[in-house]
């Protein structure tokens, strides 16, 4: 634990958590499925994937979608907003957010990338595009599907604005758009808001729903998705020699964060603590991670320093662990750089083996699961780890959850474009 404690007014704790994922419609059901090592990866139903080499993903099942009647102005938020609203409601209930009178001291930080132009959008645009690339606006305006909502659908600040209104959050509302690092960075930015006393409480997390044709073929074109998939639940296999790419997923997780002083004053149960945050840029290539994992290592070192922790204090690492040929050995190197010899003693696992990769939501989902794991003394498994890659030679908790009493963990999120985030998480008191 940190050698020197910050004062209670600067310690940031978690008092509410919510999630909607491909494993369940809330924290409890997602955790139960993950602890059992179940996979949420299925054949896709949200669009027709015929003709594509990869046809699986982590969809939120219809029964798990939040049953929240949306006001007319909320319809424009689409599925990313709906999932975020569901996760936020769960977290807000647990934290008693509604009872806080000073609404201007509540902030919101949301990672995610709004609605991708859908396949229908692309087809609609193509229908009104001439051979020179000119677009007929009157033609577009005549399309019912391309109405005024189109203006908002792709705005990354739209879901945070809607969420702030629905939760009556009156402090700052920040949209973070750093690709796969966004969920972790959102929690990191929330930590800063609270430590600097710019807010008393922050609702922070991520939401992402990119399981549509255009986003999916984008990842097919990049060659980043799992290939030769016969069994959907075996498609995501981080650190396994036979991994062939990541599996796309959707989901959302939200946390209510506040200073320890605030939680005590409100009589809220502390579910965990955000001990520190580190971020960095790879500054290497737009398409690849730094081959030695230096950017990831710098983010981990920064998180440890921010938390006042030594590498030996780390008892678990929730890896970014995407299941791509490049990420997993590179992240292994990054962990070794950051933790030194201790890297060989610390359990590491990838939630993406069960849940796929939900981009801007992943960092928040993994932070919540890490906190629940500390509460329960359980480290989640990396499933489908059957033939270890010799370059991935650490303890990845293969295939079965493990009982491990632990109170300090790191959670990594590394983004396309080279942005890295690492959260140092604690069990709280």
């Amino acid at each position: 634990m940190p050698a020197t404690r910050r004062p209670d007014a600067e310690r940031v704790v978690v008092t509410g958590m919510g999630m909607v994922t491909c494993l369940g419609g809330d924290v409890a059901s997602t955790w139960a499925a993950a602890e059992a090592g179940r996979s949420g990866i299925r054949e896709l139903t949200l669009f027709d994937p015929r003709g594509l080499a990869c046809r699986v993903g982590g969809e939120v099942q219809p029964a798990w979608l939040p049953r929240i009647p949306l006001a007319p102005h909320e319809q424009s938020g689409g599925r990313p907003y709906l999932l975020a609203r569901g996760a936020a409601e769960e977290a807000a209930r647990q934290a008693g957010l509604a009872s806080i009178a000073t609404r201007d001291r509540i902030a919101l930080v949301l990672g995610g990338h709004a609605n991708t132009p859908s396949y229908d959008d692309l087809v609609t645009l193509a229908r009104h595009t001439d051979a020179q690339g000119g677009v007929s606006l009157p033609g577009l305006a005549g399309e019912a599907a391309y109405g005024a909502h189109q203006f908002h659908r792709r705005r990354c600040d739209h879901a945070p604005a809607l969420l702030a209104r629905s939760l009556d959050v009156r402090g700052p509302a920040l949209p973070v758009v750093s690709a796969c690092a966004a969920g972790g960075q959102a929690i990191g930015e929330a930590l800063k808001l609270l430590r600097e006393q710019r807010a008393q409480v922050v609702v922070a997390g991520g939401t992402e729903c990119q399981l549509n044709y255009s986003a999916y073929i984008g990842c097919v074109l990049l060659g980043a998705l799992a290939k030769r998939v016969n069994e959907p639940d075996k498609a995501s296999r981080p650190f396994d020699r036979r991994r062939s790419g990541f599996v796309m997923a959707e989901g959302s997780a939200m946390l209510v964060l506040e200073t320890l002083a605030s939680a005590r004053a409100r009589g809220q149960r502390v579910l965990g603590e955000i001990l520190g945050y580190g971020d960095s840029a790879d500054g290497f290539r737009i398409t690849d991670m730094h081959p030695e994992g230096l950017g990831g290592a710098q983010a981990m070192a920064a998180a440890l320093a921010d938390a006042g922790l030594a590498p030996d204090d780390v008892q678990y690492v929730n890896a970014h662990g995407t299941s791509t040929p490049l990420n997993d050995p590179t992240e292994t190197l990054a962990i070794k750089h950051a933790l030194g010899e201790h890297a060989r003693r610390v359990p590491i696992s990838s939630n993406k083996s069960m849940m796929g990769h939900s981009f801007g939501a992943a960092g928040a989902i993994e932070a919540v699961l890490t906190l629940v794991g500390m509460q329960r003394g359980v480290v989640l498994p990396t499933i489908n780890l059957e033939v270890p890659d010799p370059r991935c030679d650490l303890d990845y908790v293969p295939n079965q959850a493990r009982a491990v009493a632990h109170r300090v963990a790191l959670s990594n999120s590394f983004g396309f474009g080279g942005q890295n985030a690492c959260l140092a998480l604690g069990a709280g008191e």
């Binding site: 005024a148 203006f151 792709r154 009156r170 973070v176 758009v177 600097e196 990049l222 942005q419």
Partner: protein
Amino acid sequence: MPWRAAITGRALHGAWPGGVRGLRAACARGGQGPTPLPSPPALPGHALRGVRLAAEPPLRLYDAAERVLGRHGRWLLAVAREAHAEAGLHAWPREQVGLCVALGMVDPDAEDLAAAVAASRAGDGSLSLERFHAGGFRAMHPLWPLSMLGNVAAGQVAIDLDLRGDNTVLASDGSAGVRVLLEARRALQAGAAGAVLAAAASEPLTPARAARLALAGPAAAWCEPGEGAAALVLEPEASAAARGARVAGWLVGAAACHGLEGEPAAALLGRAVQGALSEAGWQPGEAGHVVRVGSVSAASLGGLGLHAPATAPGEAVGDLLGAAPLLATALAVECGAPRVLVVHAEGSRAAGALAVEVAA
């Protein structure tokens, strides 16, 4: 005494020549102002106007960057390089230089899709979805998906300038521009970075963006879009003084607010202005000049106690969305007053204010 972030680098790229000084001249003479966009055609009832970039910045890039950056990314990189050089950041430890970027939306460009559409035509020339599914989509460039990610332009700036410190990317529109300056100043104040490059770019005026604006109706009626980018380098006052950096001014206060349910735009703007003034320790009458950005009208300033002369660069060069508050801050230093307030609003959605002290 407010905490002062020194401005040691400024760069602008837009439809006017001559950078910051050129912008000042354009504002002084009223500028050309937004003109009707020749394409796409305006909808009935939507007189769409805007300012297109006169010339793209000359940049030499490697192939992958060339493909993924897009026009807005090129503008961002151009101003980032220029501000970074002006501030003399090359000698800094790369882990200590932070990056805060504001970007708008990245639209699918008809050119990106054209090859796939052409490869998916049926015999009668119509678009065949079956052919598109069956492999027509593969005619799109494999790096197209990366070009659609908002943060990729920021990632390229980090690569190009070897910036490896604290970083964040915020979206969308003008409020993100205020917030990146606010976050940059906070990062410096908290010691999370030794210097921060804050940069932003507007969205290119693509047919899709024009369509969105036209179809948004009153929500975007105030916006006459422009194309361009702006960058500032901020560092702690003591650091700038210690290394003898040329300081153009100081950011001494910043506030950003989102609109509350039912809150009038004037009240929202008032909250933002009050926040920045309070942080700067100023009274409204102490601002010797005001730079208006976004939907802020000249008439709205008096109600906030702001009676100083005002400049509205957007009237000359169009609204540069996230880049507009940075552009306005760069311009503030040239306004001839020792204290300048930048005020920004997007109707009743969001508002922000930035308090700038100008070096003698």
